[in-house]
């Protein structure tokens, strides 16, 4: 029995990745790990794009992946800067420690 790997599998994997990322964001309090989880979510989307683009035979999906990667890099730069600034204030990267503003 051969394992035929089709678009469905990739999409399934993508969904699993997305879920993993989401759960990561939901459950972790370390800013860096949260950030990494978000990267997983974006990559899940990328996987979906690639899968669809290949299935349809359309270039736009691949282009989109490139753009998402670029944007993710930009976000990473900004995100890490913010995390550094956070750490300077509180000496922690626990996002739960930052709740001066509420109500």
């Amino acid at each position: 029995m051969t394992l035929a790997v089709g678009p469905g599998h990739y999409l399934f994997l993508s969904a699993i990745l997305f879920t993993i990322g989401t759960v990561g964001v939901l459950t972790r309090r370390n800013a860096i790990i949260i950030f990494m989880s978000i990267e997983i979510m974006l990559n899940a989307a990328n996987l979906a794009f690639v899968t669809f683009a290949a299935a349809i035979g359309d270039l736009a999906g691949f282009v989109m992946v490139l753009l998402v990667i670029a944007v993710a890099a930009a976000e990473a730069a900004v995100g890490l800067a913010i995390i550094v600034a956070m750490f300077r204030h509180r000496q922690t990267v626990d996002v739960g420690a930052f709740n001066v503003m509420r109500g």
Partner: protein, 517 residues
């Protein structure tokens, strides 16, 4: 035509193509120039020691000039719209009334923000060239978002805008609140981006294209696939985050409070307007055929947003936080206009965004001028007490904004609400209209609180030992506030022209019930 040829043609950038993105182009150029000019400044006389970034002199002026030119470009686009309307850059950019109108709104919001921020930046030590650069870049993102005719462009515009605003939020990096705001905005923003991108993927997967018009034609045939619906849902979530719909609004009070006040105003108006532009274009035009699917969801979101936003706002004492909740509520009103799902509602969105921008920028402008050196005086009960007598003109302007936000004639806010309610009633959503009314009445309570503080209390009775608040009203900020007052009253007393413009702007957009009065 091969991809290579296409690419070449793109580089050639025929005049019409450049014309289509002219405002964005101008903004980009000036954003870069702003940074470069700073290098010159650093190298010359006033550069402080240790290579620290120092206060800038030229950047605000460059930025303002650029934005003013960009606004001129928008006007030019508007005047030549009939000849030049169409799709550009391989269908990436749409030049239509809708885009030009909202480009005008976001560029105007940017210009007003710049006018307001100059004095503020000096007082709060954020007058760095990067600050102005980022404002311009955010504006570029907004313009692209407004003009986007392809989901790729939507994503790109959204991210250019968002990333710039993340940084702007945290720009007062020595302030914990500023950083905390940036953190919250960033974490939730990035999270929502994940949903948004995944949504685009789903739509792309089921329709095979990311071109908005093409998607529209493809989904018009046959029942929607589950994956497409999931995509629609994910996009609702993504946009819902950007325009702060309940329950995706949690970030906004904290972020608005933490951000530098002019930036808060910018977020509340420019970011929101651009977000709505894409939201409306995608849902009312592209997903028009799926209206039966998304209208109920947006109905619920609208009600939740209006009620939660307004109800939560009534116990706020921080004017920025109050305006944050207020801006959530106004997003709810705008969604009501979308739910109406007719041309009237779409036009109402445009008119309302213009009106809302004027009054909200104005209100934040007043808050900006009140913030002293280092201290943001934003407590309604303390800092606004007796303002009507210590700063009569400024308070009068604030009162106009508050009444306009409440929706009292003869202000722009009233006409806007009138417009939205009429769209809802016309579409048969009378219960929704009634809920909007109820929400408005609740909102009156907290807007009036500001008026009460300004006119009906005194600093001493409010228990403030700081004495009456005085404004830092430079010529620029005064101009901005005056302009918004004139706009709010002008659009309220003579709404005809504006309504006609909004109406003309939505003609290009395909909507189901294109029946306009």
């Amino acid at each position: 035509m091969s991809p290579i040829d296409q690419l070449l043609e793109l580089h050639a950038m025929s005049r019409p193509a450049a014309f289509a993105v002219l405002p964005a182009l101008v903004l980009v150029v000036f954003a870069i120039v702003t940074l470069l000019a700073d290098l010159l400044e650093l190298g010359s006389s006033r550069g402080p020691a240790e290579g620290q970034a120092g206060p800038t002199i030229m950047a605000p002026w460059l930025a303002m000039t650029g934005t003013a030119i960009a606004f001129g470009a928008v006007v030019w686009q508007w005047l030549r719209l009939e000849e030049e309307a169409g799709l550009y850059f391989n269908g990436m950019i749409a030049l239509d009334g809708f885009a030009v109108f909202l480009t005008g709104v976001v560029v105007a919001a940017t210009l007003l923000t710049l006018l307001l921020t100059v004095g503020y930046s000096r007082r709060h030590n954020v007058d760095l060239a990067e600050y102005y650069h980022l404002i311009l870049m955010a504006a570029v993102g907004m313009v692209l978002l407004v003009e986007a005719a392809n989901l790729v462009m939507v994503f790109l515009g959204l991210e250019v805008m968002s990333v710039s605003v993340y940084i702007l939020t945290g720009f007062r990096r020595t302030q914990l609140r500023s950083i905390e705001g940036a953190l919250k905005y960033f974490v939730l923003g990035a999270f929502s981006t994940g949903f948004f991108v995944y949504g685009i993927a789903m739509v792309y997967g089921t329709t095979g294209t990311m071109d908005l018009a093409e998607i529209g034609t493809r989904i018009a045939t046959g029942p929607p696939a589950p994956l497409l619906l999931a995509g629609v849902g994910l996009l609702v979530i993504g946009f819902g985050f950007k325009v702060a719909l309940v329950p995706f609004h949690m970030w906004s009070p904290d972020v608005y409070e933490g951000a530098p006040t002019p930036i808060t105003g910018f977020m509340a108006t420019g970011v929101k307007a651009a977000g709505f532009a894409a939201f409306v274009r995608v849902f009312l035009s592209t997903f028009d055929a799926l209206a039966d699917q998304w209208v109920p969801v947006l109905w619920v979101l609208a009600v939740l947003t209006m009620l939660v936003g307004n109800v939560a706002a009534i116990r706020q004492d921080d004017v920025k936080r109050m305006l944050a909740y207020s801006s959530i509520a106004h997003a709810g009103y705008l969604v009501v206009a979308m739910v109406a799902h007719n041309a009237l509602g779409t036009a109402a969105v445009l008119y309302y965004l213009a009106a809302y921008t004027a009054m909200t920028v104005g209100a934040f402008g007043v808050a900006v001028t009140l913030s002293g050196r280092g201290a943001e005086r934003t407590s309604i009960s303390r800092d606004y007490a007796g303002l009507g007598y210590s700063e009569p003109l400024l308070a009068a302007a604030m009162a106009v904004f508050m009444f306009s936000l409440t929706g009292v004639p003869p202000t722009a806010g009233f006409v806007g609400k009138f417009y939205i309610i009429s769209a809802a009633v016309d579409a048969g959503h009378v219960p929704l209209a009634v809920l909007l009314v109820v929400a408005s009445v609740i909102s009156a309570y907290y807007y009036l609180k500001v008026v009460v503080a300004m006119y009906m209390t005194s600093p001493s009775s409010a228990g403030s030992d700081a004495g009456p608040t005085h404004a830092h009203l430079g010529a620029l900020a005064s101009t901005a506030i005056l302009a918004t007052v004139v706009a709010v009253l002008g659009m309220g007393i003579f709404p005809g022209e504006w309504i006609d413009m909004a109406r003309a702007s939505v003609e290009g957009l395909a909507t189901a019930a294109a029946r306009l009065p």
